[in-house]
Amino acid sequence: MAYNIVKFCQYYPAVPAVQQIFQLPRNPMGATTAAGAGLYGRATFCAALSGAGNISMEEWFFVFHYQSSTQISGTAGDRFAGLVKAIGTPVLAACVATVGSYYARLTWTPSVADCNWIIRGEMWTESPS
């Protein structure tokens, strides 16, 4: 068995308050997993905006199900995202686990425009070798 973990970080300056899509690698480390396996991770959304008090941090867990060795399931019950903790000024209206073209995605929507965002985290899955 192999343990495959990928760390990610993206910076998004001055994001409008409209839906954004953060697409994750389909297979961490190029891992070939199996139907029924899970893709797991945590993502920390960090946001700042000029002006006093505009600082925020939220951590989310996410899980996705593989429907084959390389494809994420598109079934609604096969994906979840949940808030772990939020601190500071709330600036994230929603974060939802979604799937597009078999890629795992986090679809997120700022509630405040023009924040400068960092999304960093890690994701992992198991593969037979």
Binding site: C46, A48, I55, M57, E59, V84, I118
Partner: protein
């Protein structure tokens, strides 16, 4: 743009309860100038133990600070926030807060709830820089 991350770990032996401890952090990870409209973010895990059954615990905290300049944090009260994420085992902390000194350097003040336990404090600190 560059993502700057530093990891840190500190060990403390036999810390007295109800005494303020101060963990100073570098205002700019890797000493690169920060984005002024950006933040400095931190996750810290406190763990403590002493001999005897059941004498151990862990607590994780989040911290966020706002930059005032490319190298220093804002001293405005509203420009920093922190919170306990979760804790397990014994209650090991009486207090844990994020602060900034008069020079704009961030620090964490923590007060042990347990007397003479041994501590490991580890975490990560990150921001975004223009280069």
């Amino acid at each position: 743009m560059a993502h700057n991350l530093v990891e840190f770990e500190q060990h403390y032996v036999g810390v007295a309860s109800a005494t303020s401890q101060y963990l100073y952090l570098p205002p700019t990870p890797h000493e690169k100038p920060a984005l002024v409209d950006g933040g400095l973010y931190c996750r810290v895990t406190f763990s403590a133990a002493v001999s005897g059954t059941g004498n151990l615990g862990m607590a994780e905290y989040f911290f966020a600070w706002h930059y005032a300049t490319a190298y220093l944090l804002s001293t405005e009260t509203l420009d920093r926030t922190w919170s306990l994420v979760t804790e397990i085992g014994a209650a090991i902390l009486t207090s844990c807060v994020g602060r900034v000194n008069a020079e704009g350097v961030p620090y964490i003040r923590w007060i042990p709830n347990q007397d003479l336990w041994n501590w490991t404090v580890r975490g990560e600190l990150w921001n975004e820089s223009a280069d």
